[in-house]
Assembly symmetry: C2
Homo-oligomer: 288 residues x 2
């Protein structure tokens, strides 16, 4: 397994593989890898086959964090990540520095952004106004650097995956995007690098996100007619905030393809949650 | 020579050429081709060699026109353009429809833009506020569709070429950008599809743009010390508006790499002009 640290090195490698007709699968990450990421690697391998190559990028992208967020303390451990990748059969890690990704040369500082203007407004975009602009920009860069045939994103960040899919369509990236199912702990908590922040009883309280999703699924499946959003939202908020350190940031019901909010909840409606558990903000989502 | 009308068709062709190790040169245009475009085609051929392929895109991109501008009456003649391309040894024309470039499917309308936020503000960006966002977006799309090794832009649209160069750097497009010299009529008028609008004496008056550039070069070359911008600007404005139908939109002096305005004009300073001649807005520029 190679660890590539420069943009030009990664582009050379991608070009050589492309010209040799080798299929390339790509899993972009911010590192601090866990079983959820490894399930994405497995999916990428399945997509490109044993003769293909799988690249994992590890880069904590500053432009998708607001100044008040956890960029500085976001967990980083390239050695441990490399061990996991090697064991998972990854062919190359792309782990650039900030200077590689956002260079400042004699022609001036970085100034080009990719912005998605419809799907980015609600939910995570409302809570974190500059977040998705940072995501789409760095993902466009990574796509141009790694030049994959297929990229795999996790469904845990459902809005992100939907926005990146839109970007791939709108800007005609010559690749396919796969959204892989959320990988969960045995008790239902969605895998996330931020779960490391959950100390003591916070870890147990955090299970309330997946419990709320499950409760919503039950209610919708038992209902004889579409349910008004308001009462279901209130019920879930009460359920969640029964946990002493849990505070709802948002609860949204929407069409999965367009992220358009719905007035009535029915089977196939999508539910997404963001909840602070202590100081840690967690997200989860599910089809109902 | 092939004429490709679909995004998927062009991507298939580009992929086949890429996997065969064939170098690909690209000249994006809005059609209505003239000798200026053909000089860009020649340059693309020189870059990729006789074994390489040259693609010209012909697409009048709606998103770079403001509602008040000449999108509807912009000249279009694919047959004549195809004849010129064939004679110039072009291998493929990519001529998509608006439905191909800005599709609206069940997932919703186009919503992803590429924006350059520093170089785009002045000059053309100030006079045409949404113009460059349309340009960078469509050029990013075309780069992903055609996947060239080298793209050739004309220096006549100097700010555009500088912004696209910045986009290529910032978003890591795996290609090289070449800016080719402005091609001029024998009397000095820069080649432009909009020159067709110049009827009667307007055609003669339009030469005043290149005369103004020449005058500025002479003044700067004779000067013993850097010149204050104000007086030179006033002199050029007077020179230009001596033509009965010419009205200055802007006259700007700046550093060519960063487009930063200068206070004093010296050798190497760049000068750009936009002038209405009758109802037709013309631009030109030169190093001094």
């Amino acid at each position: 397994m190679q660890i590539v640290k420069t943009v030009s090195g990664m582009q050379r490698l991608a070009r050589a593989w492309g010209q040799a007709g080798i299929r390339l699968g790509f899993v972009p990450t911010m590192g601090s890898l866990h079983a959820g990421h490894l399930s994405l690697v497995k999916r990428a391998r399945r997509e490109v086959g044993p003769q293909g190559k799988v690249v994992v990028s590890i880069y904590v992208n500053p432009t998708q964090f607001a100044p008040t967020e956890d960029f500085a303390r976001y967990p980083r451990d390239l050695k441990a990540d490399a061990r996991l990748c090697r064991a998972a059969g990854v062919d190359a890690i792309f782990a650039p520095t900030d200077e590689q990704m956002y260079p400042r040369d004699e022609q001036g500082a970085f100034s080009t952004y990719v912005v998605e203007e419809t799907l980015s407004r609600a939910m995570e975009g409302a809570s974190r106004p500059t977040h998705f602009r940072g995501v789409t920009t760095v993902v466009a860069k990574l796509f141009n650097i790694v030049q994959p045939d297929v990229a795999v994103f996790g469904a845990k960040d459902f809005q992100q995956a939907t926005i990146v899919k839109r970007m791939v369509r709108d800007l005609n990236f010559p690749m396919r995007l796969v959204v892989a199912e959320t990988f969960r702990e045995p008790d239902g908590l969605a895998m996330s690098s931020r779960n490391q922040y959950l100390l003591g009883s916070l870890r147990t309280q955090a299970v309330v996100l997946s419990r709320a999703l499950q409760r919503a699924r039950e209610v919708v499946r038992k209902a004889r007619a579409p349910l008004p959003v308001g009462s279901l939202k209130a019920e879930l908020k009460t359920l969640i905030e029964r946990e002493p350190d849990a505070r709802v940031d948002y609860i949204e019901f929407f069409e999965p393809g367009t992220l358009t909010p719905v007035a009535k909840v029915a089977r196939g409606t999508h539910l997404a949650l963001a909840v602070f558990v202590g100081k840690t903000r967690l997200i989860d989502n599910s089809s109902l």
